[in-house]
């Protein structure tokens, strides 16, 4: 067929070819060329699940061959699907999975890979990123750029740590955190909406402000009076009855701290609310075409204000994850740039809740896989292993995602009858 293909199709084609190539490579390299008869052990049990899935022990070379084989078959299906112009996402997904597993089987040759633990860790690393990107999502879907996610997370981590320390109650920390997040949001909303300040500048400035303030107060209060101000307790894990005993899924999803459950609830509600409710319809409308929303009687700036505040609450819970949700005591700049990774996840996920969650999980998975591999011992310099999640993100963004389109009115203040 000499038919010309579009850009999207070209990228898809490139993707399919690359996947096929990788499948072949992994079949040859991991499957056939790697010497040795070592075995790889996959573990599935973390706690005392109902069914204790037996460890799966397989000769590494055989395992790699099987997984690469699966991936090769899937790649070929993808080529077929591509030629028939049907969706290639499923076979490509299966193929990627196969290549990944083939690689892991090879890399962990002679070692033990706790698969469930790998996934559980990935989720935990992604938790603050997911909260952060949900905050960004709500703001940006309503047309307000939110670069202040880092500030929201940090401020609420600080406040929740302090409040929990002073009250000796995790619950109060969890309640105070969203209020702190909303306080940052209030600044964001007021300056962005009421005073039409450029939102990119604003976001950056708020981050600097929060970092400066928390560092300052940390030194002035939390360090000298550590025993009263910075000894936040943490939530106990809640093992959901029955559910937590489901093999594999149980330990990952149903044996977590309350903050993680709140996250599940928030992601589910945002996804539902954004696409299925009146609020969501209006929110998307004011992010795309505020004037049009205005003409049907929607108060654009009021809704934007409200949404930015909601976003602050969401990020606030994420901030609480740092202190009462996992670590306890507040640490200086403990969010360590998570707000920016969350922002990247949001863009990477094309401003959709599910996309952002997947992007955050991908990041968490790459990060945890990286440390798991160093734990079982690989001979790659540790600095390069530490780069893995960032490189993975770049590859994903350049290879798979490509051009993204933000909500059309994102970042543009709405002034009725104004110049735009």
């Amino acid at each position: 067929m000499s038919e010309i293909r579009s850009n999207v199709e070209k990228r898809r084609f490139r993707g399919v070819i690359v996947i096929t190539g990788l499948s072949l490579f992994s079949l040859l390299y991991f499957g056939f060329l790697s010497p040795g008869k070592a075995k790889t052990t996959f573990g599935f049990v973390l706690n005392n699940e109902w069914v204790l899935i037996k460890e799966w022990i397989i000769a590494s070379a055989t395992g790699s061959k099987i997984f690469s084989g699966i991936s090769l078959v899937a790649s070929l299906l993808a080529i077929l699907a591509y030629r028939k112009r049907i969706q290639v996402i499923v076979p490509v997904g299966v193929a990627s999975f196969g290549i990944l597993m083939s690689f892991i089987t090879w890399a962990a040759s002679g070692k033990f890979i706790p698969l469930t633990g790998l996934l559980q860790g990935a989720l935990l690393l992604a938790v603050p990123l997911i909260f952060g990107s949900m905050s960004g999502l709500i703001c940006e879907r309503s047309g307000v750029i939110n670069i202040a996610i880092e500030g929201q997370l940090l401020a609420s981590a600080f406040v929740s740590g302090v409040v929990a320390s002073l009250t000796h109650k995790t619950v109060w920390g969890l309640i105070a955190a969203p209020i702190a997040g909303a306080a940052i949001s209030f600044l964001l909303a007021t300056f962005a909406i009421k005073f039409s300040v450029d939102q990119v500048i604003l976001g950056f400035v708020l981050n600097v402000l929060v970092i400066g303030l928390t560092d300052f107060l940390y030194k002035k209060l939390l360090v000298p009076y550590q025993n009263t101000w910075n000894t936040a307790p943490t939530f106990n894990k809640i093992e959901l009855p029955i559910l937590s005993k489901i093999p594999i899924l149980g330990p990952i999803f149903f044996s977590q701290s309350i903050v993680v459950y709140i996250m599940f609830a928030i992601v589910a509600s945002i996804t539902y609310a954004l696409f299925k409710t009146k609020w969501g319809l209006r929110t998307r409308a004011i992010g795309e075409h505020p004037t049009a929303a205005d003409t049907v009687g929607i108060d654009v700036n009021k809704l934007r204000f409200k949404n930015v505040m909601i976003a602050g609450l969401v990020a606030g819970v994420g901030g609480a994850y740092y202190t009462v949700g996992s670590v306890g005591a507040f640490g200086k700049e403990m969010t360590a740039g998570a707000g920016f990774i969350a922002l990247a996840a949001l863009i990477f996920g094309k401003w959709s809740p599910i996309g952002a969650v997947f992007a955050a999980l991908l990041f968490g998975f790459a990060d945890n896989l990286q440390s798991t591999l160093t734990i079982i011992g690989v001979s790659i310099p540790s600095e390069f292993m530490l780069m893995v999640p960032y490189i993975a993100t770049i590859i994903a963004v350049t290879g798979l995602v490509g051009r993204v389109r933000a909500p059309a009115a994102d970042g543009i203040p709405y002034l009725r009858g104004g110049s735009h």
């Binding site: 010309i4 293909r5 579009s6 850009n7 999207v8 199709e9 539902y272 609310a273 299925k276 409710t277 009146k278 609020w279 969501g280 319809l281 209006r282 998307r284 409308a285 795309e288 075409h289 004037t291 049009a292 929303a293 205005d294 003409t295 049907v296 009687g297 929607i298 108060d299 059309a408 009725r416 009858g417």
Partner: protein, 504 residues
């Protein structure tokens, strides 16, 4: 329902857009408002709709004063409006757009789209529209988008319907349908305010005509008034709308397109294997309703589209696949459809905009240095030659009026050595004076032996300027006809009825 405006005044800074305007629309009346660009029609309507706030004056509905400060006030007073620039969310479905602002929720706050879907189907049936409630608005042709706006007003039972230039983007057939719909609505008691520049339509459907000039009501006349009279009332002087076109010899083909196909990012052919040529000294008009591939075809001629197949020969040299820069410098002048988006850099000065294409060539550049002096001097010259009205050529282009902006684009494109001029909707949104100027320039290029390809949705413009007319429908050129074709035939062709003429 009747609507009355009393003494509406609106100023923007020192500029008075509406000056004590009085207007009365009776129940079940179609009330046309005529006026030049910038006369203040949209401003007045936006005030009625609550999008702008009048400085003074009052609005009465059924003889009772109402306070309209928000669109929602207008909506609840029974006023609906179809805006000049559509007010639809491009990424929403038709149904979602209709529901927006009037949402009803079910269990768990779930949005009720189904009711809207049914309502859309019902209204569509009543008025003979073909609108799929689940289509994404941005994928729909403009004509359908407009129907969506009308359907919205109908579903929410507007008693007074404001239509701001609804026919600008429609085919003659679609226009006829709209006029029919308006009459039906009128029969059901709906009052309609109808804004248009097309005098024929007004005379056909209006019960009453109000003419606005520079923010003031300058006349209230009956539809029996002649077109010439209406035009001179609008402009304040006698207008000659048809440009002078001298007959002359047409040269040999200078640009030839063979099997030209353009695909969008999804791979669909939006221009499908078209063949045409334009000769030196000839105006080839490409007519068609917006959304039928003319925009893409125009852009493809300078390789501005990403996926082009087939061949474009300029003076027998293949330029298909060349860079945009090379295409332009091979001798094509290009006036893009949107001067704001694609034609001009708004924050740049007039002088800077005039060298967007030539900034790295002598005499504007000396090595990598810009020759500021030359740039200014040349800009002054162009401003004079093309009658660009501004305080200074250092003014930001964004401060110019539409007509002057377009002159900047034209001045720039015609200051290269040019063999072919590709002009895409060159008079869209311009006022009468500017249109005259643009038409004259286009004909001057033709007379100077250049080939001109004019893309236009305006039948009058096409008929007035073209030597030959190619009609596009759904990405294909249905036919290329002589300029002596009748309006009706052209209209039918544009609507996709392939009336192969014997002469072709």
């Amino acid at each position: 329902m009747s609507l009355e405006l009393r003494g509406i005044t609106k100023t923007f800074g020192s500029f008075t857009a509406n000056d004590a305007i009085n207007l009365r629309v009776e129940t079940g009346q179609i009330h046309a408002i005529l006026g030049e660009n910038g006369a203040g029609k949209s401003t007045l309507m936006n005030i009625v709709y609550g999008l702008l706030k009048a400085d003074s004056g009052e609005i009465l509905v059924d003889e009772k004063a109402v306070n309209i400060t928000e669109p929602s006030d207008a909506l609840s007073a029974g006023i609906g409006m179809v805006h000049q620039h559509f007010m639809l969310i491009p990424v929403f479905t038709v149904a979602e757009n209709i529901v927006l602002g009037h949402e009803k929720s079910g269990k768990f706050g779930a949005l009720d789209i189904e009711t809207a879907r049914l309502a859309i189907k019902e209204v569509s049936k009543d008025f003979g529209f073909e609108v799929n409630p689940d289509a994404i608005v941005e994928t729909l042709p403009v004509g359908i988008q407009q129907k969506v706006e009308i359907i919205r007003a109908l579903i929410y039972e507007a008693k007074v319907l404001i239509l701001d230039e609804p026919t600008a983007v429609l085919t003659p057939q679609e226009t006829d349908e709209l006029l029919k719909t308006m009459r039906e609505l009128k029969a059901k008691g709906t009052s309609i305010i109808f804004i248009t520049h097309k005098l024929r339509e007004v005379r056909e459907v209006a019960d009453q005509i109000t003419i606005i000039r520079r923010g003031k009501v300058v006349g209230a006349v009956s539809p029996q008034t002649s077109e010439g009279e209406l035009a001179s009332l609008m402009v304040g002087r006698a207008v000659d709308l048809a440009p002078e076109k001298v007959k002359h010899e047409i040269g040999s083909p200078i640009l030839v397109a063979k099997d030209l196909t353009v695909r969008n990012t999804l791979g669909a052919a939006v221009v499908n294997k078209v063949n045409f040529h334009v000769s030196a000294g000839e105006v080839l008009a490409v007519a068609g309703v917006q959304g039928n591939g003319q925009s893409e075809l125009a852009r493809a001629l300078i390789n501005l589209e990403d996926h082009i197949e087939g061949s474009i020969l300029l003076d027998d040299k293949e330029i298909s696949g060349a860079s945009i820069y090379d295409s332009l410098h091979a001798g094509i002048a290009f006036i893009p459809e949107s001067r704001e988006l694609d034609g001009l850099v708004g924050s740049f000065s007039i002088a800077e905009n005039l060298i967007l294409d030539l900034h790295d060539q002598a005499p504007y550049a000396n090595g990598i240095m810009l020759s500021a002096g030359v740039v200014m001097a040349e800009a002054e010259k162009r401003a004079k030659e093309f009658d660009i009205r501004a305080q200074s050529v250092s003014d930001a282009v964004s401060t110019l009026s539409g007509g002057n902006k377009q002159k900047v684009v034209i001045a720039r494109e015609l200051s290269r050595p040019v063999k072919v001029l590709v002009a895409s909707q060159p008079t869209r949104g311009l006022d009468v004076g500017s249109i005259e100027f643009v038409h004259e320039r286009i004909l001057a290029e033709r007379d100077a032996g250049r080939g001109v390809i004019l893309f236009s949705t305006e039948l009058d413009e096409v008929m007035a300027l073209a030597d030959r007319i190619a009609v596009m429908y759904r990405g294909e050129i249905l036919d290329i006809v002589d300029s002596n074709v009748t309006r009706e035939e052209l209209g039918l062709l544009m609507a996709g009825v392939a009336a192969k003429k014997a002469s072709a």
